[in-house]
């Protein structure tokens, strides 16, 4: 690997975010009376990956798979319920106030809907200048002007006093990008940055995002369900399903030679503008599983076209390197599926045949497993 350990900007270790289903004091009162355990939505359930300096990572998956929750946890909009995020080798759960302020200054987010992500009662200037005021950075006007110019809102002065409702969708997203850039961040989470824009405007905003990555040396985490966009923008790709990463690797390898059955189905669903192209259609049956009462074993087993029996029911497939996938750069790819042989010596069949471990692999065993992994 050409990157050393020092180049890792952000390391996500076993990140978990569970949301309690019934909140409020009546629910908790009832629970304490009945003695029942509260239900949790397992939005993100043990996700590990790292983002290197200057790298673009794509998070893909269908709606509800936890990719947005992961992105929001990355910029600390959610407090994770388990696992941790390290920034510059400092654990975010342990940093002091100054460390947190430094992280806030270096981690920014671009939201999906530019109509919602700008305060309707704030002018463009105030919106972009706000992060500077929060962090008490001087040369406000010059920085705002630079950021707007970089976002190709020219001439910048003309936009200062405009309100969001006076701007088009594309211009708003550019303002949002300028706001994210004005603090000179190290990494940005872009949550479906162009999905709400007109198709004609997407190319322009995408070009801007690309320029931002190249010229700033920014690390960007793109969250999208649009695989063709991610293929265009990202160095590496992680596919998520029901709160877990099922496949991770260099973008071109994952797209051209998908290994996990879910990735294969996902890539198969991307339309190809060629009527005569002959390809085998893999259509997924059924619905996404229950994220409250998580199924045991592999979470994809009920919809999986390659279901191979007890091992899928009993053992949770860990995300690991596989020894029997042929091709270049395969050592960088990790897959969570029992179809392939582990390169790390993990034997899922032992788990199923062994006594009682299979039962533990269900929802109740999650906490123990997480602590065992540490």
């Amino acid at each position: 690997m050409s990157f050393g350990r020092d180049d890792v900007l952000l390391r996500v270790e076993n990140l978990e975010k569970h949301f309690e289903v019934d909140e409020g004091w009546i629910a908790s009162l009832l629970q304490s009376v009945s003695g029942g355990e509260p239900d949790y939505v397992h939005a993100v359930d043990g996700v590990s990956f790292e983002v290197r300096r200057g790298e673009t990572l794509g998070l893909a998956g269908e709606s509800g798979c936890g990719k947005t929750t992961t992105g929001m946890s990355l910029v600390k909009l959610h407090e994770p319920t388990g696992g941790d995020i390290s920034y510059n080798d400092k654990r975010l759960s342990e940093v002091d106030k100054a460390g947190m302020a430094e992280f806030r200054q270096n981690a920014q987010m671009i939201f999906q809907d530019p109509f919602e992500s700008l305060n309707p009662r704030m002018t463009v200037y105030d919106t972009v200048a706000e992060p500077l005021r929060i962090h008490d950075i001087r040369n406000e006007t010059a920085r705002v002007q630079r950021a707007l110019e970089f976002a190709e809102l020219l001439p910048a002065e003309q936009y200062y006093d405009q309100y969001p409702h006076e701007l088009s969708g594309g211009q708003r997203q550019r303002v949002a990008i300028a706001r994210a850039l004005v603090l000179d961040p190290d990494f940005i989470v872009a949550d479906e940055p162009v999905s709400m824009l007109d198709v004609s405007l997407r190319a322009g905003v995408l070009a801007l995002l690309e320029r931002m990555t190249e010229e700033f040396g920014l690390s960007v985490v793109y969250i999208s369900h649009d695989l063709s966009l991610l293929r265009h923008m990202c160095d590496r790709l992680a596919i998520m399903y029901m709160g877990k990463i099922v496949e991770k690797g260099p973008t071109d390898r994952v797209i051209e030679n998908p290994q996990h059955p879910y990735t294969q189905a996902l890539i198969n669903a991307v339309p190809v503008p060629e009527p005569d192209i002959g390809r085998e259609r893999v259509e997924l049956q059924g619905e996404v599983g229950d994220v409250i009462d998580v199924p045991s074993g592999c979470r994809f087993k009920d919809r999986c076209p390659e279901y191979i029996g007890d091992v899928c029911d009993g053992a949770i497939p860990p995300l690991e390197r596989k020894s029997d996938i042929e091709g270049e750069r395969e050592h960088e790819r990790e897959v969570a599926c029992h179809l392939y042989e582990s390169a790390e010596g993990h034997d899922p069949y032992a788990e199923v045949d062994g006594d009682g471990t299979a039962a533990e692999a269900g929802a109740g065993g999650d906490a123990e497993r997480a602590s065992a992994d540490d």
Binding site: M122, N139, D184, G217
Partner: protein, 326 residues
């Protein structure tokens, strides 16, 4: 900033060299933007004839209240005449505008007070009650609503249970208890009105804050590291301000009506002249039975005019806050 030096390609690398003369004057800018917003709202508000007329009426009352000592022909609580033996008798003078043979424009009450002067000074009480109650109703309600809605959880629960409790408090018993404890005065009525009115504002503002805090622009501010107070004051408050103005303008009308009602049943301040106490006195001396309608019609008309104007202005403002009504 160590981070910045490491990233050599930053677009801000030479930004420090720029002179600060380009820095925009913050105050100048803020006042200019406020002026623009206010002008825009004013334009929308005065677009409608009913709102224009209502504003004219309110302005008139305000002028009367300010210049009351110059407009009133006599002190409002000074008897204009007494019987020779000093015993007060129920006798009123007919108004001069109806051809009555006297110097009193609207006649006098049975106690010998000049009705016109009472009416003029009553404007002061009405506007005082209305404005103070409105400011506090909107202010307390907005603050409580924003805090409850933004923080949620236990804070929200606690504040909303207080609001629930206040919703269970009826108007008259509350006023009676306050008057019994603190003695009859205009301020106790204002206090009671405030205590009983901020609950509705708090509820509505809380519901707004609940939805606003989930909006991505609030999340963006959180990502940038904004403090809770920063988000409440810069992002939530400006977005609920039109709504609190709306509730404030309705509160004016309600407070005036409440004061009149409370005074009418005799819980008002006997040392202050208000339209409500005028009505109460006219009832006590059976003005209606004796046909002395000039005693109770003027204060009734004034209350009606001011309250209707308040509601119409509120209604006009509602159209600004909720464009769907237009």
């Amino acid at each position: 900033m160590a981070q910045e030096e490491r990233t050599t390609q930053s677009i801000f690398t030479d930004v420090e060299d720029r002179t600060s003369s380009e820095e925009i004057n913050k105050w100048e800018r803020t006042t200019r933007l406020w002026r623009e917003t206010l002008r825009e709202h004013w334009g929308l508000l005065t677009d409608e004839l009913s709102v224009k007329l209502s504003m004219l009426v309110v302005a008139l009352f305000v002028l009367v209240a300010i210049f009351a000592p110059w407009i009133a022909t006599n002190p409002p609580l000074q008897r204009q005449y007494q019987t020779e033996d000093g015993i007060l008798i129920a006798k009123w003078v007919e108004p001069s505008i109806l051809g009555g043979n006297s110097e009193y424009i609207l006649g006098t009450t049975a106690q010998g007070f000049d009705i016109f002067s009472q009416l003029v000074y009553g404007t002061r009480a009405a506007l005082l009650v209305g404005l103070i109650a409105a400011v506090f109703t909107a202010g307390i309600g907005t603050m409580v609503g924003l805090v409850a809605g933004y923080y949620g959880g236990t804070v929200d629960d606690a504040l909303m249970r207080i609001v629930d409790f206040l919703y269970g408090m009826p108007l008259l018993p509350t006023v009676i208890i306050l008057v019994a404890l603190l003695g009859p005065s205009l301020w106790n009525i204002i206090l009671a009105v405030i205590i009983l009115q901020w609950r509705a504002t708090a509820r509505v503002i809380r519901s707004q804050a609940l939805s606003l805090r989930e909006r991505p622009f609030v999340k963006a501010a959180q990502v940038a590291g904004a403090s809770d107070w920063h988000i409440i004051s810069r992002h939530l408050a400006p977005n609920v301000l039109p709504l609190s103005f709306l509730y404030g303008s309705f509160a004016i009308a309600w407070a005036i009506l409440t004061e009149a009602g409370v005074s009418f049943i005799g819980l008002g301040d006997p040392n202050t002249v208000s339209w409500g106490t005028m009505l109460q006195a006219s009832r006590a001396y059976s003005a209606l039975q004796f046909g002395a309608w000039w005693w109770f019609v003027p204060p009734g008309v004034c209350i009606g005019l001011l309250v209707i104007s308040g509601f119409l202005i509120g209604r006009g403002y509602e159209e600004i806050t909720n464009p769907k009504l237009q």
